[in-house]
C-alpha cells in the first residue's frame, strides 16, 4: 500500500489550480465516510427494529417543536464551525494577510 510504495511520484493534475485536485480528494474521502456511516446507521436500525427495541415509525416521525428546540443549539454550533472559515477571520490575534519570504 501507500506506506510501502516506492519513491513518491506527483499525482496527475486535472484542475488549473492543483489545490482543487487535492481538496477534491479530501471531499470524496469524506463523502465515502458519510455513506459508510449512513449504511451502518440503517443496518443498526434494521437490527433494532427486528428485535423490537426500536419503533421505526417513532424514529422517522417529524421531530416535535421541543425536540427541535433542544437540538437547535448544537445545530447552530455545527453550522458555525462549518461556515466560519469562509469569513477568513483570525481566531488568535497576530499578523494578517498573505506573506512571502522571497
Amino acid at each position: 500500500m501507500t506506506q510501502e510504495s516506492k519513491s513518491p511520484r506527483a499525482e496527475q493534475q486535472f484542475f488549473d489550480d492543483p489545490a482543487i485536485d487535492r481538496i477534491m480528494g479530501a471531499f470524496m474521502a469524506l463523502a465515502t465516510e458519510h455513506y459508510v456511516l449512513l449504511d451502518r446507521v440503517r443496518a443498526m436500525e434494521r437490527e433494532l427494529v427486528s428485535v423490537g427495541t426500536l419503533d421505526r415509525g417513532a424514529l422517522a416521525r417529524e421531530p416535535s417543536e421541543s425536540e427541535r428546540a433542544e437540538t437547535a443549539i448544537d445545530r447552530t454550533a455545527f453550522v458555525e464551525a462549518l461556515m466560519r472559515p469562509l469569513l477568513g477571520e483570525q481566531d488568535a490575534a497576530g499578523a494578517t494577510g498573505k506573506f512571502s519570504l522571497k
Binding site: 501507500t2 484542475f15 485536485d21 470524496m28 465515502t32 451502518r40
Partner: protein, 359 residues
C-alpha cells in the same frame, strides 16, 4: 475495516462511477459536440480539436479527476481493495488450495524474468501491479467484478459472450489462453470444452495460483496453468487449434505485440485460429479523445499505441490469413450504434494460420 464498511464504500464508489459513465459522460459528449460545432466542421473533428475545445471546461476537469480518483479509491483508498485484502492476508492465503502439485494443474517458474514494461507501471492503478504481492490475484479478481459496471448480474458477462462467439466458429481440441490472469477468460473454455486440452499462461504467479485454485474447486481436469511469457512459451510448434487472449494486447508495447503474434503463429497448428479480444476499433474522434484520456488516467501506457496500430497489416505481415477485426458487443444492453454511456471499444481480432504454413 469490517466487511459491511468495505462493501458500502465500494458500492458508493461504483454508484459514483455509474453516474460518471452515464449522465456525466453524456453531458460531456453534448458539450463537446456543441463546442466543436462553433469551431470546426464536424467532418474534421480530431482528438486535438476536441481537446482544444473542452480541456479547459470545468465539466471535463471533474470528469477526468473522477475517472482517475474513483479508481484510486477503489484500489488504494481507506476502503480500497488493497487494504481490505491486506487485513485478511493470512486467511486468504491459507484458504488457497495447496494440492496443486499433485494435480499437475499449476506450474510456477520462479526464475522467469518479468519484462520491464510489466514491472514499470502499476497497471489500472493496482498498487504493486497484479504480480508483486501474493494476494494480488485476489485483489484483482474482486476488482474485476466491476470492470463493466453496466452489465447486470443476471446477464452473460463479457468472457462468456466472447467464448460463445469463438466456439460458434470453431471446435478446438487444444486451446492456449495467453495472459489468462486469474483464469476468468479461461474458465468458459474449460467448462464448454470438457474433452479438450486447455493451457493457460500468464506472467503473474499470484493470479495463476488463484486460477488453478478455482479450476481445482470446479474439478476441471482439462486445464493447466503455467507461468510463462506469452511471447516466449515452452510449447511445441504447431500444437494448438486455437490461441486466444482477452484484454492482453493493450497492456503490451507494440514491439511485444509483434512478439506475441509471432509466438501465436509458431504454436498454432496449420489451419488453426487466433482470436484476441481487446480495445481497438474506436468509432469517432470524441470517443478516441475519451479513450486516450482513460489510458493516461488509468495507468495504461500502451492502450493508445494499440489503438493507433494498423493491426490488420501487422497480423498479415506475420503470415496470417483471413484477418477479421470487428467491434464486439460486451453486454446485451449495449447498442453498438449508440453513444449513451462510456464504454471500452471492445474489438475481436482474429486470423488463421494457413494450411501448409511452416512455423
Amino acid at each position: 475495516m469490517d466487511d459491511r464498511s468495505f462493501v458500502a464504500a465500494q458500492d458508493f464508489l461504483l454508484s459514483a462511477k455509474t453516474y460518471w459513465s452515464t449522465t456525466m459522460y453524456r453531458t460531456l459528449r453534448d458539450k463537446s459536440a456543441a463546442a466543436n460545432k462553433d469551431v470546426v466542421d464536424e467532418q474534421v473533428e480530431t482528438v486535438a480539436s476536441i481537446a482544444q475545445c473542452i480541456e479547459d471546461a470545468p465539466l471535463y476537469q471533474f470528469y477526468a479527476w473522477l475517472e482517475r480518483h474513483l479508481q484510486r479509491m477503489k484500489y488504494a483508498g481507506r476502503y480500497g481493495l488493497v487494504p481490505y485484502h491486506h487485513e485478511r492476508r493470512d486467511d486468504l492465503l491459507s484458504a488457497l488450495n495447496q494440492a496443486f502439485d499433485a494435480e499437475k494443474i499449476l506450474d510456477i517458474d520462479t526464475s522467469l524474468a518479468l519484462p520491464a514494461y510489466y514491472t514499470g507501471v502499476d497497471i489500472h492503478q493496482h498498487p504493486g501491479g497484479v504480480w508483486s504481492d501474493a494476494i494480488a490475484g485476489m485483489v484483482y479478481e474482486r476488482g474485476a467484478r466491476t470492470t463493466t459496471p453496466l452489465t447486470g448480474a443476471a446477464e452473460k458477462d463479457v468472457h462468456e459472450r466472447f467464448t460463445d462467439l469463438v466456439l460458434g466458429e470453431c471446435s478446438p481440441t487444444t486451446v492456449l489462453d495467453m495472459g489468462c490472469g486469474f483464469g476468468k477468460s479461461t474458465q468458459p473454455f474449460v467448462r464448454r470444452l470438457p474433452d479438450s486440452s486447455i493451457d493457460a499462461v500468464d506472467l503473474s504467479a499470484p493470479c495463476l495460483r488463484l486460477a488453478a485454485d478455482t479450476a481445482l474447486q470446479s474439478q476441471a481436469g482439462n486445464v493447466r496453468f503455467r507461468q510463462m511469457n506469452a511471447c516466449d512459451t515452452d510449447f511445441d510448434a504447431d500444437s494448438f487449434d486455437l490461441v486466444t487472449s482477452t484484454m492482453v494486447l493493450h497492456e503490451l508495447p507494440p514491439k511485444t505485440i509483434e512478439e506475441l503474434l509471432d509466438e501465436a503463429f509458431r504454436v498454432l497448428s496449420p489451419g488453426g485460429r487466433m482470436v484476441h479480444l481487446d480495445f481497438y476499433c474506436v468509432p469517432d474522434a470524441f470517443r478516441r479523445f475519451v479513450h486516450y484520456g482513460h489510458a493516461r488516467r488509468n495507468n495504461e501506457p500502451y492502450m493508445q499505441p494499440l489503438a493507433e496500430l494498423d493491426l490488420s497489416v501487422l497480423v498479415e505481415s506475420k503470415g496470417f490469413v483471413d484477418v477479421e477485426i470487428t467491434p464486439f458487443q460486451e453486454s446485451d444492453r449495449v447498442d453498438l450504434n449508440a453513444d449513451d454511456a462510456w464504454r471500452f471499444p471492445w474489438t475481436v481480432i482474429s486470423a488463421t494460420k494457413p494450411e501448409g504454413a511452416a512455423s
